[in-house]
């Protein structure tokens, strides 16, 4: 039996920042961890957004299959109403479930779309849940009360999402109060780490994952203080003070990592992973305003223009479509994080939009317009670097939930869905935004020390974690084992095994097409198949 596998999640972590923090001596443990492990870029989903990205990482499936495409999704296939995603929208099995189903206890802390908690053999405290509901949405039912009694300083209010505070910050209202923002996360992360530490001691699991999301939160507001390429030549005392405070946050994470590696022991594997990377963004594209200018969208009467001093990054409030005159709208965006554009089709979600016969030609026209006419008014350069159809990036049974088009902006930013006074505005300061290049660092027995890996996909983490756990890799995972993270000797001694397909989550109705008996393959057949897939040489 192998040692534990621990996924140490750093939401939004990027090597741009982590390598700099190692160089500056802020994260010495991470430096040692990278030197003795294998590291590489972990490519995110399109778009690089927290819910689809983390869900891809823990399922080994892509968003069109697992069904989590955004923070907000249509309530049903025919609804016009949007809801925050929960575990009930998750259509694929997670690694926690795969492991626990095979007799390995699993623990999951602070992962999005895990509420209400699935009833695995182990424990789950979901992320993105307000404090009043953490207990109800955790598993097992007595977990939170037990932790309250056992962990000094345990405070569910500090642990949980406080959307009111976060919305203020992401809306820029706390823009002058960086230090409170940093403090909030310096207080919140130990709440999660203390649970991890307690559970590893008192309820050890074979597979454990935890997400520290302050990395993302700090980078959004404080990118200028964290990106070494943006360091001013003569930094002010304020800049240095705030940056030192950011470093306090990362120093704390470094200590957590050190203790986690120690707890995993010599037989354990620790994966440092992020759901996406980060970069800077200096402009805002008001996509709905551009669509209005092009004659594709009409605002409802009374919808006000957003103030010029808005620093909106993300607006995760449930957004209804009452801001639009839907009968006169052929394309719109409903939430900024997805960078997705929806084309209403008559009969799908009401009797508005283009006809089914017009859909393909209209979508092609819109793609063309986005590529050619969505330009910087000063330079005439395209603002949109990529346009993907949903067939390209959300292929799978849940594709219908995804936007019709997804765009990649020239500076990797997220567009705003608010009504702007003009389509493009320069931001008053550079803010952090998501980038496709996240991080993967693997550490443990059989890992190639100091290796630099080819870029891997988020979906590759699940099969690699299951392999490190000594479990078969389900045949229906879309990701692949990252073989180059391991030495040839280790791979020879621990042959990867292809296993039966994953199991449909219990909250979904049965799918008869998948309820077929699995016939075990011989070891030779398994090896042959894995060779064909490139898993083994």
């Amino acid at each position: 039996m192998s040692g534990p596998v621990i996924l140490f999640g750093l939401d939004g972590a990027t090597f741009t920042v982590l390598d700099d923090l190692v160089r500056k001596g802020v994260m010495p443990c991470l430096g040692r961890f990278m030197a003795s492990g294998a590291r590489g870029t972990l490519l995110s989903t399109v778009p690089p957004l927290t819910p689809p990205a983390w869900t891809t990482l823990v399922t080994g499936r892509t968003p069109g299959h697992h069904g989590i495409t955004n923070f907000l999704q249509y309530e049903s296939d025919d609804s016009r109403y949007l809801r925050l995603v929960t575990s009930r929208e998750l259509c694929c099995e997670t690694i926690w479930s795969i492991a626990s189903r095979q007799g390995r206890r699993a623990g999951s802390l602070n992962f999005v779309a895990h509420n209400p908690a699935p009833k695995i053999n182990g424990y789950v405290i979901p992320g993105w849940v307000p404090w009043r509901w953490v207990k109800k949405h955790s598993h097992p039912a007595d977990l939170i009360d037990r932790l309250k009694g056992e962990i000094p300083g345990f405070d569910v209010r500090e642990l949980a999402l406080d959307l009111k505070v976060e919305q203020k910050a992401i809306a820029g209202e706390m823009i002058e109060d960086y230090e409170s923002w940093i403090d909030l996360h310096i207080r919140r992360e130990p709440q999660w780490f203390n649970i991890l530490r307690y559970q590893m001691k008192h309820d050890p699991c074979a597979l454990v994952g935890v997400v520290f999301d302050g990395v993302d939160k700090l980078q959004h507001l404080l990118w200028e203080h964290l990106d070494p390429n943006m360091e001013p030549q003569s930094p002010s005392e304020d800049f240095l003070r705030i940056r030192r405070h950011c470093w306090d946050y990362f120093r704390q994470l470094d200590r957590f990592l050190e203790e986690t590696v120690k707890s995993a022991g010599p037989d354990g594997h620790v994966f440092v992973v992020s759901d996406h990377g980060f970069t800077g963004s200096g402009e805002t594209l008001f996509i709905n305003t551009w669509l209005e200018q092009q004659g594709y969208l009409t605002w409802a009467p009374g919808v006000e223009v957003a103030p010029d001093n808005s620093h909106e990054l993300l607006e995760r409030r449930p957004y209804n479509l009452s801001a639009l005159e839907l009968s006169k709208t052929r394309a719109y965006a409903h939430s900024p994080g997805s960078n997705g554009i929806c084309i209403p089709v008559k009969g799908d979600r009401g009797d508005v939009g283009v006809t089914p016969e017009e859909y393909e030609s209209f979508r092609a026209e819109l793609v063309n317009a986005l590529r050619r006419r969505c330009v910087d008014p000063e330079t005439q350069e395209p603002l949109i670097a990529d346009v993907w159809t949903r067939e390209e990036v959300f292929h799978g049974p849940r594709m219908g939930l995804a936007p019709d088009l997804t765009v990649g902006l020239r500076d990797n930013g997220f567009f705003s869905v608010l009504r702007g006074s003009q389509a493009l505005k320069r931001r008053p300061m550079v803010i952090g935004t998501h980038h496709p290049a996240g991080v993967l660092i693997v550490h443990g027995p059989g890992v190639r020390e100091g290796a630099t890996l080819q870029p891997a996909q988020l979906a590759d983490v699940a099969p690699t974690a299951l392999y490190a756990l000594g479990l078969p890799i389900p045949e229906d995972l879309e990701g692949s084992l990252v073989t180059e993270a391991f030495t040839p000797e280790y791979l020879a001694e621990h042959s990867p095994i292809c296993g039966p397909a994953t199991v449909r989550p219990a909250h979904l109705p049965p799918d008869e097409s998948r309820d077929r008996a699995y016939e075990p393959e011989s070891e030779a057949e398994v090896l042959m198949r894995l060779r064909a897939l490139g898993y083994v040489e």
Partner: protein
């Protein structure tokens, strides 16, 4: 068609909320007249989480976002437990939107 018993649904709903009442430091009894925003001091995100808890309890997807957004559009001052119960009675036996 399955008949949904209002008393049974009310009792189950009140049980969900009453179990958490102490953690919320809410000492009053929770009844059909209790307002989720004015009395229980919910934020909008709490109302969403309540919807998830109800769906989980009854093992059925419900058009809860539609319910909340329409209440907002009507500019109602609050949503009471009684309103929620009415919503459940109207939807528990004919749920739509379950992922297939």
């Amino acid at each position: 068609m399955k008949v949904v018993d209002r008393d049974k649904v009310r009792n189950e709903l009140l049980t969900i909320l009453t179990e958490l009442r102490e953690d919320w430091e809410y000492s009053n009894e929770i009844t059909e007249q209790t307002g989720i925003f004015s009395d229980l001091e919910f934020e909008s995100i709490d109302a969403v989480a309540l919807g998830s808890a109800v769906e989980e309890h009854f093992d059925q997807s419900l058009p809860f976002a539609e319910f909340l957004i329409k209440a907002g559009e009507r500019q109602v001052k609050d949503i009471t437990i009684g309103d929620l119960l009415d919503f459940l009675m109207a939807n528990l036996d004919g749920a739509k939107g379950r992922p297939k």
